[in-house]
């Protein structure tokens, strides 16, 4: 006889709560952050600290203004996750006020003004990123050359000086250690009628798949994301459909004209694609919630990322794609309600 392992009631549940979920998300982000620090120096970590401090302080301040209890909301970790997601998407040499302003916008305007956690229609981290990208395009698209390319290592003090005072060490010039992001590079080079292969093999910043360094950071986000899947914090629908759609679009166009459309793996391993797929698009508050809706939502983000990257005015499209699909999420949910068994549609 098979042993029945079902214990008698009361049944224990998964002990899941907002704090636990957020803690798991933070843990899953750590490999990616370590990889960022390995390839791009201390800047990412400084951004993280700045953004997190701003997020927690501003969240506490607004909660007080609104007459809500401060500590429970701070301890749920959602503000911290928002700050982390924003900070890792910022250039490692962004001036300090970039992290602070972006974090302020994300928490105060996108999250708290709409009613706090659970009520915000837009992903706060991505709204903060879009705000920064539109407002300060130059600072937001100047990326640090990965150390494997430039051979320059900024120590902690030097990084702090760069971020807070915009003062580079004496022997360095900004142009020598900074670069446009690979996505930006491809866009501008295509603008002067160079072919993809000329661009790809004519520069030192593009590695096997995407930008050197960036592709490896992406790998570690992928790992963190898979762990989240394993822990059942997120479901497979959104990441899979998003990456599959992006891959399908880019393969199709790349086959059609490989001189004008970048190779598929470039799209997967560039910019914020992998971070978005597992950490941002899966935000339980702003994403679609029905199973079929999640498929549509993920596919929509993937398609929009490709469309905006290829034909849009801004180099990376992750933030805009997520925000646009955030608007569509309630409608998607409305039309994809699961059929209740025994009832007609």
């Amino acid at each position: 006889m098979l042993p029945l392992k079902t214990p008698s009631s009361p049944h224990a549940h998964a002990m899941s709560s907002v704090s636990i979920v957020m803690l798991k998300v933070i843990v899953a982000l750590i490999p990616g952050i370590i990889a960022s620090v390995y390839f791009f120096g201390w800047g990412t970590l400084i951004n993280v600290v700045l953004a997190a401090a701003t997020a927690l302080l501003s969240e506490a301040f607004v909660l007080r203004l609104r007459g809500h209890a401060v500590m429970p909301a701070l301890l749920d970790g959602s503000a911290l996750v928002t700050a982390l997601l924003l900070a890792v998407a910022l250039p490692p040499i962004a001036p300090w006020w970039i992290s602070v302003l972006g974090s302020l916008f994300a928490i105060v305007i996108t999250k708290q003004l709409y009613g706090g956690l659970g009520y915000n229609p837009f992903n706060p981290a991505m709204a903060g990123y879009a705000f920064l990208l539109i407002s300060f395009p130059a600072a937001m698209t100047t990326w640090l050359l990965p150390e494997v390319v430039s051979g320059v290592h900024l120590n902690l003090i030097e990084s702090l000086r760069v971020i807070f005072l915009q003062k580079w060490p004496m022997e360095l010039h900004v142009d020598a250690v900074s670069m446009a992001t690979p996505l930006d590079l491809i866009k501008t080079q295509l603008g002067v009628h160079r072919t993809i292969s000329e661009i790809r093999f004519g520069t030192s910043i593009i590695g096997d798949f995407g930008g050197k360094g960036i592709e490896w950071v992406g790998n570690w986000y992928l790992l963190g994301g898979l762990w989240l899947l394993y822990m059942r914090v997120i479901t497979w629908h959104i990441p899979f459909l998003m990456l599959a759609t992006l891959f399908a679009f880019s393969t199709l166009f790349s086959l059609y004209d490989p001189d004008v459309y970048s190779w598929p793996m470039f799209h997967i391993f560039s910019g914020g694609t992998l971070l978005c797929a597992f950490f941002i698009a899966t935000d339980p508050v702003t994403a679609a919630t029905t199973p079929r809706g999640r498929l549509i939502y993920g596919a929509g983000i993937g398609a929009l990322i490709y469309i905006i990257r290829t034909w849009g005015g801004y180099p990376d499209a992750v933030a805009f794609a997520v925000l646009l699909m955030n608007i569509a999420a309630p409608t998607i949910d409305y039309y994809t309600q699961p059929r209740v068994y025994g009832y007609d549609k």
């Binding site: 305007i109 539109i134 407002s135 300060f136 395009p137």
Partner: protein, 236 residues
């Protein structure tokens, strides 16, 4: 219905029934043109002029316009007056005309203008109607300028830039620049910035109203009782 006092008309136009902050009429020009103080001032003055003139004209003909035909008649009057104002601005402030562009002829379609014609001018005597048009227009102009000021300051770090286009070379002195380079939060100049800033302004107005309401009703002293009762009636 007794005729409202002039003070009441002004209070309504400037604060309690402000076009930009309470009625939310004419948002299209309000959001599109308020990229700096001077543009706001220009369009605000033009709208104020049009509102005063149309309210006066419509009030004088209110007894002759049959009620079935009144809306087309109002629109014709407004369109004629806006055309006149447009030609005047083109003649005397040509640079400003180039900046404001399509938004001057579009005053015809500003809902605030036809709204005041229908809601106020067609029911009151010409003097009151003209004052109402002036007050509503002034309220609109002030909101335009404040909004323009916020966006200009955040977006490019200046105030009253291009003042000489409208007011003449001697006014170049009031063009302030707060930091070098003219770089700022670009978003404030772009359309989303207009919505954010207007939302902020409306929130401020509601905050002030709530604060005043709390303090008006709180002290129930005898000499304040009549005032409180009147206020409560007005609020309900």
């Amino acid at each position: 219905m007794s005729a409202p006092t002039y003070g009441y008309i002004f209070k309504e136009g400037l604060w309690h029934n402000n076009t930009g902050l309470v009625q939310l009429l004419g948002l299209c020009p309000l959001l599109a043109v308020s990229t700096n103080v001077v543009n706001g001032l220009g369009l605000g003055l033009a709208t104020m002029l049009v509102l005063t003139a149309t309210n006066f004209a419509i009030s004088t003909i209110r007894d002759f316009a049959r009620s079935e035909l009144r809306i087309p008649v109002f629109v014709l009057v407004i369109a004629a007056l806006v055309t006149a104002v447009q030609l005047l601005i083109n003649a005397y402030f040509h640079d400003l005309y180039n900046v404001l562009g399509i938004f001057i002829p579009l005053i015809v379609t500003n809902c605030a203008v036809i709204g005041r014609a229908e809601a106020f001018a067609s029911k009151h005597d010409p003097l009151r109607a003209a004052i109402d048009g002036f007050a509503i227009g002034l309220g609109f102009a002030i909101v335009l300028m404040v909004l323009g000021g916020i966006r200009e300051l955040l977006g490019q770090g200046t105030l009253f830039s291009d003042a000489h286009l409208m007011l003449g070379e001697s006014w170049r002195a009031i063009e302030l620049q707060f930091w070098e380079g003219g770089e700022g939060v670009l978003l404030a100049i772009l359309p989303p910035g207009a919505f954010f800033a207007l939302g902020g302004l409306i929130a401020c107005k509601n905050l002030i109203d709530a604060h005043r309401k709390k303090h008006t009703i709180a002290p129930p002293s005898p000499n304040n009782a009549a005032k409180t009762a009147a206020y409560a009636k007005a609020v309900s």
